[in-house]
Amino acid sequence: MKVIDKISFDTNKLQQVAQDILNEAARLGANQAEVGIGTNKGFSVSVRGGSVETVEYHQDKAVEVTVFFGKRTGSASFSDLTPDAIRAAVEAACHIAKFTDEDPAAGLADQSELAFQYPQLDMLYPWRISVEDAIKLACQCEQEALAYDKRIMSAEDIRITTAEAFGLHANSLGFMGCFPYTRHEISCVLVAKERDEMQRDYSYTTACDPDMLESVSIIAKEAADKVVNRLGARRIPTMKTPVIYIAEEARGLLGHFAAAIQGGSLYRKASFLLDHLNKKIFPEFIFIQEFPHLPRALGSAPFDDDGVVTQANIFVEDGRLQNYSLGIYSARKLGMKTTGNAGGTHNLTIRPGDKDLKALMKKMDKGLLITEMMGQGANLVTGDYSRGVAGFWVEQGDIQYPVHEITVANKLQNMYQQILDVGNDVDTRGNIRTGSILLEEMMVAGE
């Protein structure tokens, strides 16, 4: 089978398609237009019981066009790039704009805000692996995981995915930005059984450079450790207790923050952080910043969804909210300036402290270590927070036993004020980067 050995998209062709779309919009009378194109090509393999279970070849493209007739907007999306299909889609977008209302906030960014000069991010690292070799690697992962402990009864899913993607944004003010990147992932989901109890857990590694992936041996061991350690889980009594969110789950706490300071939530009055600019919402030591141009980081982006240059915004300094996260549209709705955050923040990072997880547990002494969250349960309008969790009960800084079938609840406003420490065990796999977070007190519902 063939190796993906060359860049599998044609930049020139897609740029031409984008230009054709913009020309067609102009021909139909739109005074402004923008186009986004995304493509994705690659494969994923999964194995089970020592042999391949699925091989899936992915090949996606998606185009979205937005046209502006004065302050009226219409959009269309499609995947067929033949001239007839392009004409039909642009016409559909223009047709819709006849029926929408004048929206004072609508329209492209100002010329001066667009990223005509944008950084070339270092994010294109194709993985030169054949399907057969990916299958072998996944089988090795499964074999090592199963051999780790006899209580591991099976692998639910061992999967290797590799993809080359390409993002393009262009508009009628002459902006044309392209952004190629790769993404690879190895994941391992295991099931362990002891007497009548079954537990499931997983581990994964993801990166744009295959050399940055963890080895399958490490992933297998991590997943095996996690799933075996969950056996014997029980409930704990209903009580107030300090908690630690392990780094992977602490990202969710920061995710709620990112959503609450996003322009769309603010102008809709749907955020508990509305009117909190310059207010102290975290303890003094908390510093939160985004890093949109980190090399080889999956959250990086040279420009945002409006074609505006991304920048290293500081959102929280000395615990105070310094900036909202705005795109052109929400900035205009709020009477503010864009922060280059149309589409969200990039590599949002909370400054780590100096303790590792073990030291954080010592600091907590007695409480709940949360390693898994279930359900949605966060109301961004009010800040009310209640979610299902699993984890471990900690006493004298040491893990005592696994716990599950419990919830934790509080208000996000209080939780942010009650952060006691941020660990140095930063999880860098996603678009939000944080270490484990120790919180003063949560209401736990259990027995």
Binding site: Y57, D80, I96, S154, T238, M374, E447
Partner: protein, 480 residues
Amino acid sequence: MADIFEIVRRTLLDPGGLTDQQLQNVLHHLAGRQIDYADLYFQSTYSESWVLEDSIIKGGSFDIDRGVGVRAMSGEKTGFAYADDIVMPALEQAAKAARSIAQQGQEQSVQAWHKLPGHKLYLPLNPLHSLTEQEKVSLLQRVDQYIRQKDARIVQVNISLAGEYESILVMGMDGHVAADIRPLVRFNISLIVDHNGRRESGYAGGGGRFDYQHFIADQLAFQYADEALRQALVNLDSIEAPAGPMQVVLGPGWPGVLLHEAVGHGLEGDFNRKGISAYSGYLGQRVASELCTIVDNGTLPNRRGSLNVDDEGIPTQNNILIENGILKNYMMDKRNARLMGTQSTGNGRRESYAHLPMPRMTNTYMLPGQSTPDEIISSVKKGLYAVNFGGGQVDITSGKFVFSASEAYLIENGKIGPAVKGATIIGNGPEALTKVSMVGNDLQLDTGVGVCGKDGQSVPVGVGQPTLRVDELVVGGTKS
């Protein structure tokens, strides 16, 4: 009415000039010696949405997605590829990739086509054409004006109208050909009220496999608006929710998301083939109180979760999952049924041509019992009455499930008390259903808003139930 097969052929095959002979050839090449089954799935979806915000029609979008997925199976192995152009070269390339799952060998013969008829649960109409654009935006504007004049505390209203016209054609190596035209519409309203600085939100909506007239007839869109406002106002007065295990009464309709999470996912064939569901190995055994009979029924007319045929071309069924507390059936797609030596139950579904089918739910609900809702509530000395929910989630292996109440009340001495804030409720599937101690006579299905996610694939589903009393669930409030 024109034959569904003919309409679908015109939509899917004619534009690329694909002939029966060409498709036979593709399947013939796919059907290598070690291939147990292979199929082609053609799909086109035309969809639109209109959005009102801040009392203006802020935007609208139109989406076209067309493509073909090719799948080949050999024992436990599946090869899959797809193309977003329905033309021969792309189809041949996808077939070649999918086939590489098995070693080359002699080709098998492919059966001659025979059409497999499906149900006629909904009309093969294009809902996008059921109102003019002017009528669509006017509906949104009228609902916005209507609800804003009802209460001065409303500070934000967001309304959307969305419709979809989907055509599918499935061609199997066994010669089966099935087609379906699936209309789907949806109306949503969310609003925020502000009273002396306290803000709360409310949400309502509905839809199904019919056209937009549905929202205009009986003023349904306006009823959704009233419902969203009612919920927001209830939440304005809500107090802290309790924390800990307690008796919970679940209202009828959408709270059936409990069954979807606590039971439904755990009974999907793939998890049970692998033996990793909390329900694995329990066929024929008691997994719920004898008051519980739970079905997954894809054959209800016009429901959001219904299908004339599933995405493998099998007519959907009314499958009894649990009967009087005894586990009767798992939900199967073709692949898992073949590997487990049983038959598909018409539950093979996929998000699109670019995704592999797997066993999925359709409309999952509990049949009604004997008790009146009043009897159930008045039987509870101290507990929670939960009538509206957000989403849920389940760990099918441990059986733990959660779902978040968005409207709930305390029950004190058999009477409904004050409203409490939203809280997550957590339980253990196989255990929770054994604690169902009263079942109401008021079965309701949800209004048609369910979206189920599994392995990154979303499909529309329905849920429902009568009022239920569960003797213990853990309520995740903040008040001890």
